[in-house]
Structure formats: structure tokens, C-alpha cells
Symmetry: C2
Subunit: 414 residues, 2 copies
Amino acid sequence: MQGTVRGLSYTLLRAARLSGSVRMSTHTIVPPSPALLLPLCIPQRLMLGPGPSNVPPRIQTAGGLQVLGHMHPEVFQIMDDIKLGIQYAFQTKNTLTLAVSGSGHCAMETAIFNVVEKSEVVLVACNGIWGERAADIAQRIGADVHLMAKQPGEGFTLKEIEKGLAQHKPSLFFISHGESSSGVVQPLDGIGDLCHRYNCLLLVDSVASLGGAPIYMDQQGIDILYSGSQKVLNAPPGTAPISFSEAASKKIFSRKTKPPSLYVDLTWLANYWGCDGKPRIYHHTGPVTNFYSLREGLAILAETGLERSWEIHRENALRLYKGLEDLGLKLFVKDPALRLPTVTTISAPEGYDWKEITTYIMKNHGIEITGGLGPSTGKVLRIGLMGYNSTKTNVDRVLNALRDALQHCSKNKM
Amino acid sequence: MQGTVRGLSYTLLRAARLSGSVRMSTHTIVPPSPALLLPLCIPQRLMLGPGPSNVPPRIQTAGGLQVLGHMHPEVFQIMDDIKLGIQYAFQTKNTLTLAVSGSGHCAMETAIFNVVEKSEVVLVACNGIWGERAADIAQRIGADVHLMAKQPGEGFTLKEIEKGLAQHKPSLFFISHGESSSGVVQPLDGIGDLCHRYNCLLLVDSVASLGGAPIYMDQQGIDILYSGSQKVLNAPPGTAPISFSEAASKKIFSRKTKPPSLYVDLTWLANYWGCDGKPRIYHHTGPVTNFYSLREGLAILAETGLERSWEIHRENALRLYKGLEDLGLKLFVKDPALRLPTVTTISAPEGYDWKEITTYIMKNHGIEITGGLGPSTGKVLRIGLMGYNSTKTNVDRVLNALRDALQHCSKNKM
């Protein structure tokens, strides 16, 4: 009992605590809330919304493994595996390939923060929430942002894109491959060539589509591509794969000014991820257990094979479309070629309150399906079938739940 | 077999895959690396560096639980629990209390990005790496940054701080409570009052100290305080607790310009964390399994009790100091009142290569201890005893490993 804490001996301190009055130095301790003493309980739930998707046992196990240091060689090996996994999933040979320590939005910021400098022109194709967000981020850092807007549920033609490029002469063009708020998959062939012809880099969001719909980063001339961990890859949210072409890297590493963020500065991240050929030095403490989970998600995709994964998602989506039409429901995306296989949007059924349907299905079937998001709010119901969750059984379960909900949910009196 | 993928029938596709040539549309699939087919292996390791620290079984289990939606009521409940846990750990009643979806650096950026606008004066107390990083971030967003520099191993007096405040008239003053690169704990009493007298907000980094050394956010007048999940809280890295006083909140919510980042914009985060009294709307996909782990780390701290936790860290640190001196090693921080109980720095032993010692201990004892970081590189060895890892047994294990290393590592011939 030799030690003292700010002048109070431990013996005194113990006596004080036992007497119910705990003071250290001149400060008083405020006790914790009793809510923290209750156990943590996580219910069973089938996650058929637009993500996160359910995590298979192999990935759950990985997420519960003991942490290692963010600079240990075993973790660098796992990060190297993740790079290989992303290169496969993205179909790219890009050296500057890594996962950011944050959500898909963090990856979106990583792209825009590093590629764009103040006053540069950014053109954003906006047919849902992701375009809105990309424009917001670019505006915050002082870019000259122009929108090419379309209604949710529609895609962009090469002609429309060329018109935008010719008119605005942007240095960066943003488009979503998987517009999960509206359920649209944007055809990408030809956009890279167009952008390059106009001396512009192509940035593509594939958060909701990667592994569920074909994408070929190198062959399609995509300069910056990012995704998320919690969709088809079936890992928990918290990391986001991203990759940069030679041209994008060149622009990034010849910036006149530092990017606004240290946390996502690619000069640092490229080093931490072993992309710059130099010894790795400490940047930030990477979320190592999320890296374990992401590594396993990418490994499962590699074992399944991309083309098989695309096929599974398309088969189950077609099965879902058929079942929805049999229930008298209407698919929100009219053009079958623009339907995103991972997230299906249903036009909000007339005479129903969409919120009542999703609540009924959650309560009575333990299944998450959701309403719209951003510009599609109130217009759609959304069903996600991603990776591990993209199965015939789940299609039948959600159709059964919807049938039940349509029978039991009271008609809207409007 | 009715479906087609970009014009190729599945039958054709299967035949193509069986024949070894897989083509979809005009694009060719590049196969995955065989490295991804190897199993994920995580070795057993005692993590006695400056963090991450080992994760106890209860928190590992939480991290491996099934994901729920980032907008599900059960997750909002867990986020509410986290807020209560942070309020207890920080000893604050602040409404604007939450965890950011990233590492401690992300929390540092959240603080500076939201509180500081272009051209505002920021004063940074710099006696190790964290001050350097805070200055770097503030400079990136155009602040007028001034440094108050000291040698690693030293702290700041109130007189020195007052001189800096009077000279530079900053709107924000940054100081580290736990300078883990040098092993210094900064006394905080009186700094808040000083800052407020000079019309300045006080920002404190407690990533390495929270739960291990006394801190009283409200009573000490700290305006912005942040920490990390992976130190005394013993959760995996990936989330970072942060809290803002009334005065800080007022400054944030009356900014003239938007913060540079959407991802850490507090207008959005305050809503997502239920701090603004409005219905929560989608901002980003929170790392839900990291929230589970953080919730459990904070619950364990609440069950242990802050004062008991501080006492444990101090007792084990004192035991470590005694053992190190018995081995003939010198503590780097001369003033006992400035020694951080969670991270002990040892002056790099003369005649040894510090890197050989850490490598020997990792290889032969499976224990991580580290060298210095930033300005302390080459000057120190660092031993962390944090939360679950702060035990007598671990003190004895690391002392035994050090004794062995000192006997076996070849003397430096310089």
C-alpha cells in the first residue's frame, strides 16, 4: 500500500470507496448507467435489405479472432491477400489497390479527396442517392461540381455522358455501377474510353454491385473503383476496397496541394498497404479484425469464382422478379437490362403504406426488407439478395413474407 | 436455362467454363491468386505494445456475432449504451457524445474538421507524435497553426500554456493526455480554465490514457475529448469515442462553412447517434460489429469501476518500474508524476540494438513490445499494460522476457 494516487493513499481511497464517497484529488466520480450492466443480445434476423447482408459462419469466426498488431508481418500478409482479392474481384492489375478503414462513404471521400483539387471540374451522374453524396463531398472541398440528373430507376446512355463531358470538360466523372437506392445497374462498357477521350478520369461506385454483377475495371477503363465489405462480400461493415489506375495514381501523386484528410491521404495509405515499394511505416491503427473478415469474404468470392457468383445473383434475381410479378407487384426498373441483381426495387404497392409492410415482415417473419433511400423514398420497397443470402430458399422466404404482408396489412385509406 | 448474361446463354457459359475459357460479353476473366485459397491463421501473441491490446473472450465473442442493420432499433440501443459508456469513461454529461467509425486519427480529424474553419488559429502542444499529427491535420484545412514544442518525455506547465495562449490567441488548443510515443501523462487540471479565460476551446487526446489514468472531462473543462477502442477498452481497433462540450457544440453548429468531410460531419453524426433529438436518418453504414465490441469494452470498464481501473493500471505500472530498475534499465520519463501508467517508456539500453531486443522477445516469448514512434524512434522501448493486459502475471512475463533478451542479444559493436 505504498502507492499514492494524486496524494491520496490507496488505503484511504479504499476506505473512501467502501464508505460510498469516492473522490480522487478534487474531482468526484459520476457512476455509470445501469443500462451498461445488461447483457448484449443480438436477435436472429434474415438481412434481405440493401446491406449489410448476413455474415456466414466462416467470416463471423474470423471477426472474433484475437487481434494482432497493425504492423505485424501476419497482418501485412493478410493485407497482401486482401489486395489480391480486390484485384480479382475488380478484375484489375492496379498496384494502388487497398481497403480503406471505414465505410463505402469513406472510400468515396478517399477517391474524391485524393484525385480532386480545389476549383477542378467534377461531373456527377446522379440517378439516386450516391450521386448526391459524391456531389456533396466534391463541393465541400471546393470543386466546381456539375450534375447530370436522371430520375431514379433510369440509367445513362453513352450519348448523354458524352454530351456532359463535352459541355463541362471535367477532370473527374462519377457514376454508380450499382445504384442501390433505385435498383439500377449502369452499363459501363464504353464510358472509360469516352472519359479518356475527354481527358477525364472515371470514378465508379460498385458498393452494392461488386460480385453480383459483371465489372471489369481494367478492360472497361475505370480509373477509380471502390466497394464496401458488407454487401456481396458478406463481411461486417467497416472496410471498403478501392483501386486506382496508373493515370489516377499519376494525378494523385503529382498534386500541388495535400489532400484535406490525413486519415485517407493516399501517400500514407499506399505505404501502409505496401503499394509504394518502400518499408511500411505507421500511419493509423488499421481495423485488424475487419481485415480478417474482409480477407475471408474476398477468399470466398475467389473460391466461388466471379462468373459463378454473377450467375447465382442473376438466377435468384430472376426467380424473385417472377415471384413478385405473380404477387401482382411491379418492378420499379422498367428496362430489364438495367435491373441490379443484388438489390431489387418494387414500386411501392398502391393502397398500402410501405412502412407498414416492412414493419410487418420484420415483426412476423424476422426478415429485413426496406423502403427507398434519398430520391427513391416512398417510391419503392427494396429487397437485397447478396452473396451468402442470394439463395432460392431466401427468395421463397421473402416472397412468402410479402404475400402474407399484402394480405394482412391494412389498406391505406387515402 | 432461360436467362442470358450479356447475350451468352448459361448453357454456353457453363460449356465455356468447363472448357477452361471463360468469357462473358467481350471481356475475359483473370483468375484469382492461389494465395487466397490458403486458410487464415492467427498466432497466439501477448500484445504488450502501445496497442492494440489483447481482446478478452467476452469482447471477441461480441465481435463475432451476426450483423444487424445499422438502422435497426437494437443497434440504436447499443449506440445509446455506447454513449452512456463514453459519458462514464469520460466523466461527462455532454449530449454530443458518440463513437466515430474509424481509428483514433479519424476522431482527431472529426474534432479538428468540425471545430476549426479556414484561417482560424490553432495552438498545438507537441511533445511527441500526436501533436505533430494534429498540426498536420489542422494545416491541411487551412488553419493558422502554431506549435509549442517540447522534447519527448517532458510535459507542459500551466505557465507555459498560458504564455502560448496569450501569444497566439488560438481558437483551439490541442494537447495529449496520454503521449504514448514518449510515455508521458499530461496533468490536465487548470488547462480548461486557462483556455476559457483566453476564449479558446480545449481539445484533448486520450487515446492511450482513457481508463488507465484519471480524466474528468466536465470537471477539468475539456471541450473536446476523444479516445480509441483498442487500448484500455480492449476492443478491436475501428471505432473511436468522442465528446463535445456545450461551447464546442455551439461553435460547430454555427460554422459559416461545411466541414471538409461528409463522413465525419457532426451535423450528420449527431443525428445518427441520436444526439439532436430528431428522428435518425441514414448517413453511413456504421461498423455494427465494432459497435458490439466497443459496447462490451465500455461495459467492462463500468463494471470494474473507473477508480479501480486507474488503481490497477497504476499498481501494475509501479511493479513494472521496479522490475525494470532491478534489471538496470532506465525509465525514459524522469518525473514520476508524468509517467503514463498504460505505456511505459524505457531509455533504449546502451550498447544494444533496440530492434534486436523487440525481435528476440517476439520470437522467443511471443510477446509484443515496441520501439519508439515519431520523435521517440531509436530513443526508447515501449511496454503497454492496458485493461485486460494490465496484470501482475503479464508484468512478470515481460520482465522475464526482457531479462532473457538482455542476456542473449549481442551487444552493439558501435
